[in-house]
Symmetry: C2
Subunit: 232 residues, 2 copies
């Protein structure tokens, strides 16, 4: 049993209940087997902070009732997943219009229009193109096999997990928590001083620490510039 703001790591594999197709998974081999492996993604147990609403509602809610190391299969209806399918979101365009946007349409092709909307070509016939702007998983009931493999209890561990989240792919800052837990010093390594989005990363990390780890803490970022940094 877990509660809001708990830090847990989960593994899950989700299927379309109807077709039994795997639609998402944290397990690398499963992804490869299902032909949905994505090189850019980091597979393995995924950090979930309960109450954050980064997962679909039905999946997140099921986690509160799990125990550590317990595996469960849960069914999630569209209302608690990607919403119902809205038939009015299937648009008809003339073949000419679609071609003008530089698209040669065929069924199944994902398209992004210049206004930013995203859809999938359903069919092309008689000079008309039918485009479904619904989320591909809208209207689908999903089945997840899910397991909580780890829970973080120590504040310092939670902070390091958040650093991992917001500084993935770059050299990691180091954090030092004062004994009274009133001050957290985070030292930014010189290699990432000039990252274009460094200030946003710092803001987001501090926000999550204040929101989910220690409410009243001062997050103090330190960047040390010395001669050797400057002359690079």
């Amino acid at each position: 049993m877990f509660k809001d703001k708990d830090f847990i790591y989960i593994n899950y594999t989700g299927k379309d209940k109807n077709t039994q197709e795997i639609i998402d998974t944290t397990v690398e081999e499963e992804a490869k087997k299902a032909n949905i492996y994505n090189e850019g993604r980091k597979y393995g147990p995924q950090l979930v902070i309960l109450g954050e609403h980064r997962l679909i509602k039905g999946l997140e809610e099921s986690l509160y009732n799990l125990n550590l190391d317990e595996e469960k299969e849960i069914e999630v209806t569209p209302d608690n997943a990607y919403g119902p399918r809205d038939p009015s979101k299937v648009k008809v365009m003339s073949l000419g219009e679609v071609r003008k946007q530089g698209i040669t349409p065929y069924p199944g092709l994902p398209v992004r229009f210049s206004d930013g909307s995203v859809g999938i070509i359903k069919s092309v016939s008689g000079g008309r193109v039918y485009i479904d702007l619904n989320h591909p998983l809208a209207g689908k009931t999903l089945v997840y096999k899910v397991k909580v493999v780890k829970q973080l209890v120590d504040d310092k561990e939670k902070i390091d997990a958040l650093i991992e989240r917001w500084f993935s792919g770059v050299e990691k800052p180091t954090a030092q928590l004062s004994e009274d837990k009133k001050t957290l010093k985070i030292t930014i390594p010189e290699k990432i001083f000039m990252l274009e989005d460094i200030q946003s990363r710092k803001l987001l990390l501090a926000r999550d620490i204040l929101k989910y780890v220690i409410d009243e803490i001062s997050v103090v970022y330190e960047e040390v510039f010395t001669k050797s940094v400057i002359s690079q």
Copy 2:
């Protein structure tokens, strides 16, 4: 008498020796009188770090031999100012070409071409446009009246002057120098955490402090994120 790396404040007014026109001045009333007043500029004594080469060569070099509060008139030849005038930098273009760039030319009009080059229209005749790409002050001998009005000797004062330089127009960081002068803590105010160019300003300030104030110092920037910062 001053030396390299001295921090001095100067007032100057420079004239074209030939026409006696004022071409640049740090004095607001002089600028207004000469019709070259620029609202965006901060008038008043200007910080010069000797050896930085932010001023034209002839003007900077003359400063080494001045004394505090001494006013002097100096003559600067083109070689020590904006260089000689290069006749081959006067280009001829057809009126059609110039108009294609969206320019209706007349003598004296400053123009910037799409390739980034900057010039002044000299004349328009017989469908031809003569454009001078020389610096407007190239080839001119200049006369400066210059006075050193202040010198900074204290390291902390120099650091504050550099903060003023790199954080002009925004809320200023505060600096605290350790007694052994090995560490300088600079606290960034929360209002400017998300300035687009904050990291560049921090780098440039640290560079100048290390280069011109204390060679072996660690410049430690501190940014404190608290609940009140995050919830803004």
